[in-house]
């Protein structure tokens, strides 16, 4: 695991083969243009959130902000505290759903991934194949059916309607299993088994510490999905709705809310980005084993 990283790090010291100057220059230019297109809207979103109200309505429109203010963020928090469902409630909902859903997903997916990767038992191949095939369709289009099931279970309009389905996202299990396949050697587990260690203990104290990058990756994906979750058919009580829904209601408040809406867009997008920046190297390492062989 760590040797792989080291190999990557030393790469820049070696001579690069087959690289023409012209090609390098061309690639750099293309990267700059593409990168510019990527960043400008995000940058603009941040600038927008620091503009005082009158700067939104100048002609011709200005890209940069001339008198930056944090008023929009202040207003956002003020509006939050005066909305009829207290805004702290929306924050609590999203944080609670994101944390509980991510935690459950991590536990369920790691346990299952360990079994599918490291235990010799009948049926494990079939189970993994099913999970892998389920990556091939979008859970979103199954929304109506999920709703039918949730209604039958009596979970409509409860937190469970969002939290429990998150536990079984197939991407997380897939990435975890692939990572275990290539990073946890069977010999270590075998020797622990010979010492008489119980399977669950081997899972918990040997396998889990070795796949830290994979669980950080699972955390960021599950967290990001739940954090960004908007309005759901299965949740209609205002007190249970997500931060995203609450913020878009504020933003929908017309021209006077332009600044607040810009601030809320930034709040929503910045959290997952920061989490990714912190965990990036782990995510990339996990993706190293994401390959699909059938």
């Amino acid at each position: 695991m760590s040797t792989k990283v080291k190999k990557m790090r030393t790469r820049r010291h070696t001579v690069v083969l087959n690289r023409s100057r012209g090609g390098d220059a061309g690639i750099t230019v293309v990267l700059f243009i593409l990168g510019f297109v990527m960043v400008v809207p995000l940058f603009y979103a941040i600038l927008q959130s620091f503009k005082p109200l009158d700067e939104y309505f100048v002609f011709p429109p200005r890209f940069f902000v001339s008198h930056p203010t944090i008023g929009n963020y202040k207003d956002l928090f003020y509006l939050m505290s005066t909305s009829w469902v207290p805004f702290s409630r929306y924050i609590f909902n999203t944080v609670f759903i994101s944390v509980a859903g991510t935690f459950g997903h991590l536990v369920c997916a790691s346990l299952a991934a360990y079994v599918m990767s490291k235990m010799e038992m009948p049926g494990k191949k079939v189970m993994f194949q099913m999970v892998q095939k389920s990556l091939m369709f979008n859970a979103g289009v199954m929304g109506t059916m999920t709703f039918v099931i949730l209604r039958y279970l009596g979970w409509v309009d409860t937190y469970w309607a969002v939290i429990i389905p998150a536990f079984q996202q197939s991407l997380g299990l897939y990435l975890m299993k692939q990572f275990m396949d290539s990073n946890v050697t069977t010999e270590i587990l075998e020797s622990a088994r010979l010492d008489g260690a119980k399977e669950f203990r081997i899972f918990w104290s040997i396998a889990m510490p070795m796949v830290k990058p994979a669980w950080l990756t699972l955390i960021i994906y599950c967290f990001k999905d739940l954090w960004n979750q908007g309005a759901q058919a299965s949740i209609y009580s205002e007190q249970l709705k997500s931060l995203n829904t609450g913020l878009s209601q504020i933003a929908a408040g017309g021209i006077a809310r332009t600044g607040v809406s810009a601030a809320s867009t930034v709040v929503m997008m910045i959290v997952p980005i920061i989490v990714f920046v912190i965990m990036q190297s782990n995510v990339i390492e996990t993706m190293g084993s994401s390959g699909m062989k059938d």
Binding site: L31, V115, F137, A233, T286
Partner: protein, 314 residues
């Protein structure tokens, strides 16, 4: 310990008895896999089966469903013009944004592969950020806002190109290009990261060997060394891209409303939601879902088959 008993006892057992023995020996394994598999069964497997079954009924959530045979499917293809429109747009996005986002992900990942690791980390965040911030696309609404205070409109008027602002998201000739741009802007997602990691994982000695064997430039190198070596990542990336492209619809709703003007960009995802959770014609919505399921799985199997051929002739 477990292994020894295995070897000794297998000889005098039928295949079935052996399986049973293994199952008993791994009881704890089934216990560990159970929480995930039960939920997977409930929320992934059952919805697919359910959509097939309910698709043959007129279920509406209130009354007990009646069996109606193929009538939902007949209606879909013969009587529902909007379905044909939705199917058309779904295939359009799948064929345009799907491959485009896939290529873009690969090309960017490939271009940044030779960079210094620290710079590469920063560039990765730059390209990946739009897909992380879930509702970040809302900013395009501001840039292309329909009044003269929208940045694009404002400058086009100022420069004398326009006299009145364009309602970009309400005008059917602008909806498509804009939606595609925004979709591509947000499309460097998980496959992009998989490609970066895949490229990093290729052993350097292979490139050196290829150079000795007469590979002249980076393009040949990509074809003969890089692509065949990251086939499994290419496969995974393709599945992610296809699944994403077929489920497309959220951006259209957010930017152009639902339904969009003249149903430009109205996809099956919209159509399913419309019948499922707006009109409560769950039977019909199920049939639509099942068709969508078949299309997605079919496209994926086809593409993964094609990709498994990459580098085989080389």
């Amino acid at each position: 310990m477990a292994k020894e008993t295995k070897v000794v006892s297998r000889k005098n057992m039928t295949k079935r008895a052996w399986t049973w023995h293994l199952m008993k020996q791994n009881k704890i394994g089934y216990l560990m896999v159970a929480p995930y598999m039960i939920l997977f069964f409930l929320f992934t497997f059952t919805p697919v089966v359910l959509s097939l079954v309910i698709g043959f009924t007129d279920f509406n959530m209130l009354q007990f469903p009646n069996f109606v045979g193929m009538s939902n499917y007949v209606t879909m293809f013969l009587d529902d013009e909007l379905f044909i429109t939705a199917l058309k747009w779904t295939l359009f996005f799948a064929l345009v944004t799907g491959p485009a986002s896939y290529l873009l992900s690969f090309i960017v990942a490939w271009f940044i592969n030779d960079l210094d690791p620290r710079i590469r980390a920063i560039v990765t965040v730059v390209f990946y950020a739009p897909s992380l911030g879930g509702n970040a696309y809302l900013i395009w609404e501001t840039l292309f806002s329909g009044d003269s205070y929208g940045w694009v409109n404002g400058w086009l008027i100022k420069l004398g190109v326009l006299s009145t602002p364009i309602q970009f998201f309400q005008n059917k000739s602008y909806i498509l290009p804009l939606v595609i741009i925004v979709a591509l802007w947000q499309s460097l997602g998980i496959s992009f990261l998989a490609f970066i990691a895949g490229l990093q994982g290729i052993d350097r000695s292979q490139y050196e060997a290829a150079a000795i064997d007469g590979v002249k430039n980076r393009w040949q190198e990509a074809w003969y060394v890089t692509l065949p070596n990251m086939k499994s990542q290419l496969m995974f990336g393709a599945v992610m891209a296809i699944t994403g492209a077929f489920g497309f619809g959220g951006i259209v709703t957010a930017l152009c409303g639902n339904p969009p003007v003249d149903y430009v960009g109205y996809t099956l995802a919209h159509h399913i939601t419309e019948y499922g959770t707006v009109r409560w014609e769950v039977g019909y919505s199920s049939a639509l879902t099942f068709v969508m399921f078949l299309i997605m799985i079919g496209a994926n199997l086809l593409v993964t088959k094609i990709i498994s051929k990459v580098g085989q002739s080389a």
